[in-house]
Amino acid sequence: MRDNIDSAELDRLISLSTDQSLSHSDAQKLDSILENSAEAQQRYNELHKTHTALCEVFPSRMLRDFASPQAQDVFSPSRMVAHSSSRQPGRLVPRIQLAAALSICLLIGLTGYMIGKNGGEPYVATPDLTHTDTTPIPKNTPTKKKTWGGVESTLTGHAVLRKTIDVSWPNDEQKITDGSLLPPGGFAFSGGVAVIDFFCGATLVVEGPAQLDVISDWAVSVKNGRIEATVPPAAQGFIVKAAGTDIIDLGTRFALDMSEGRAQVAVIDGEVLLRGKQFDDDLLQAGEQTSLDREAVDSEFLSRIPQLDAIEQQSRDDLKKQHASYRHFMKELAADPRLIALFPAEKKFTGRRYPNIAKTDFASAGQLLGLVETVPGRFEKESVGVLMSRPGSRIRTKINGTFSAYTFSCWAKINSLKHKYNALFLSDGYENGEPHWQIRHDGKLMFSVMVDDSQELFYSTGPNSPPIQDKGLHHVYFSDAVWMPSMTGQWVHLAAVYDPAARLVTQYVNGTVTCQEKILNEFVIDTLQIGAAEIGNWGQPFRKTPDFAVRNLDGVIDEMIILNAALSSDEIHDIYVVGRVH
């Protein structure tokens, strides 16, 4: 490590790289300086931080146009041409695409903000009750709208798809995720129940098969489906158009059945006004029902209408049942003599102790350290997960004993793989027989066991740290990439089985084998141990500097299971199935 750097030369190279471009020889020089000096890397980082902050405080037109609602003219074709001709047009994606792409950043951020805050000021379109187009709902795109205060970013949407239960969408393209805005247009699904909140305040519970056309904040057209509409006072005047009739709600609740050729409406509470076809502003009151197409009314139809309270209750009941079944499974598993440790996703925590319920006495309870947060787990309020997003977050445990095989299993909800290595379970010292289970930044699972720690090599833990002594012979068993950014926030079940007897390492994702690799003779070790170890981070208490490798998993882990056995694929699948939340 050479730390006598020429600061002036380094600054010149960094400035060239940010303001202009480096010649080949300057590039090599910068690379060489950074490779050999932690101090240079620190300086490089600091100058980049300042440069990035300057870009933010004084955004150039290119960055500003998409980051601020002030400049609408960026979308004009003439400006696109002017921009793209200024540098290497042949290699660059057309600016119009960039404009669109950059805009979506605003859209997503804003959508997240609005939904996250359950508020915001959605764009209120002028009601257009003549709209009957049922083309698929386009993806949301941001627009800019002139207001008295200048130009304001807006989103298009009249309603939010609050929740879906077992909904079958026609295909992935037309799938709408929970929490999405519903802009004007049609959508359909073949089964299940969807709950839609219109911006005016009306809520529809729709049971499929259903085909709807969102018209405005105040109106929806229904071609197919069974619906319960709840209309609070603020949404009085909400219109459901069906079978050529406008059903105008004057407050509270009504049901509509547009399934299997029927077209009938019943008022559960309050009253509605019927307009169009055979109706001339006819009032329908609580307890009354009528057909919209002159057919006889099926008096039983109300019993088939989905009711929000009942659906939510059912959903809660299902979750409780599933949780009860999960607890039963965990209780049985806790008595399994093969178990080394079991940290279940239970809601009862005492202080910062993470309970281990295994009946064997190999492992201590976990200790939550740093800014570890307990958050709702897979079973929502019935369980907890542990959020490990801060670098110092960790759950420490101590596991005594020697073992002949390993099975690791856990559930993880990953926000991002922001470090090169992201910990699932890592033993402190990585001595002979000790396991390391982690995910690399590219989404590949890594499992390894130290075979012979007597060999020495030096390993860098970061630009600001001197290399630490690492130990010898081991082999990392990689899977293909199993996690990608689109899985952010999803619960994933992960498992790794180390089977020295069968000379196999098998890794699983959601109960299914994702990779299997033979243990070569030189990497076989059959006396396994763990010692001090961490869930979701890597503890290195014997390091010689204050620096530590940052490996905390940016996400939530719950239910870590460790067994002194190589579980079969069926057993792994069972753990996945019983813990999976529908």
Binding site: H24, K49, T52, C105, I108
Partner: protein
């Protein structure tokens, strides 16, 4: 968000044109995967993950001669924990105060370089100075601002 994404990529590529190219590709992927983003999770972290994949793909497809950093240095830089959103916010807030301390000429140069995005060669020619001299002046201003930011954050 765009300046931070730009900074994230630039730090790893050390080349402005390449950074713009990768930024565009990243934005297009963000666009394509917009519906995959889960509200409530870190939007910044999500976009940085996408950028990281684009950077990996970019480096894989470029000849070594075109890349500033070797794999070793790239990994060292990439391994360095990026500052948190909160830290970035604090830095921007401090910088807003710090720029008030610049003299008129310094402010003008920063405006021209950043907000107006005028090529350094053009600035140098209008000011009748050499390109190197302008580069050094900018570098000194950034250093001064960096120190000011540090002082304010430490307070």
């Amino acid at each position: 968000m765009q300046p931070r994404l730009y900074g994230f990529i630039l730090k790893r590529l050390a080349d402005r044109d390449q950074t713009l190219e990768v930024l565009q590709r990243t934005n297009l992927v963000i666009w394509q995967k917009a519906t995959d983003y889960r509200p409530g999770t870190s939007f910044e972290a999500w976009t940085f993950t996408i950028a990281r994949f684009q950077l990996m793909a970019w480096r894989k497809n470029q000849s070594r001669n075109r890349l500033v950093f070797s794999d070793t240095v790239y990994e060292q830089i990439d391994n360095e924990t990026d500052s948190s959103q909160v830290d970035d916010d604090a830095r921007v807030s401090a910088l807003k105060d710090c720029v008030k301390q610049l003299n008129v000429d310094e402010s003008k140069l920063i405006e021209q370089r950043y907000r107006e995005d005028i090529p350094l060669a053009t600035i140098a020619s209008t000011m009748n100075m050499s390109l190197d001299a302008i580069g050094m002046r900018l570098s000194r201003i950034r250093k001064k601002l960096g120190q000011c930011i540090q002082r304010k954050i430490q307070k």
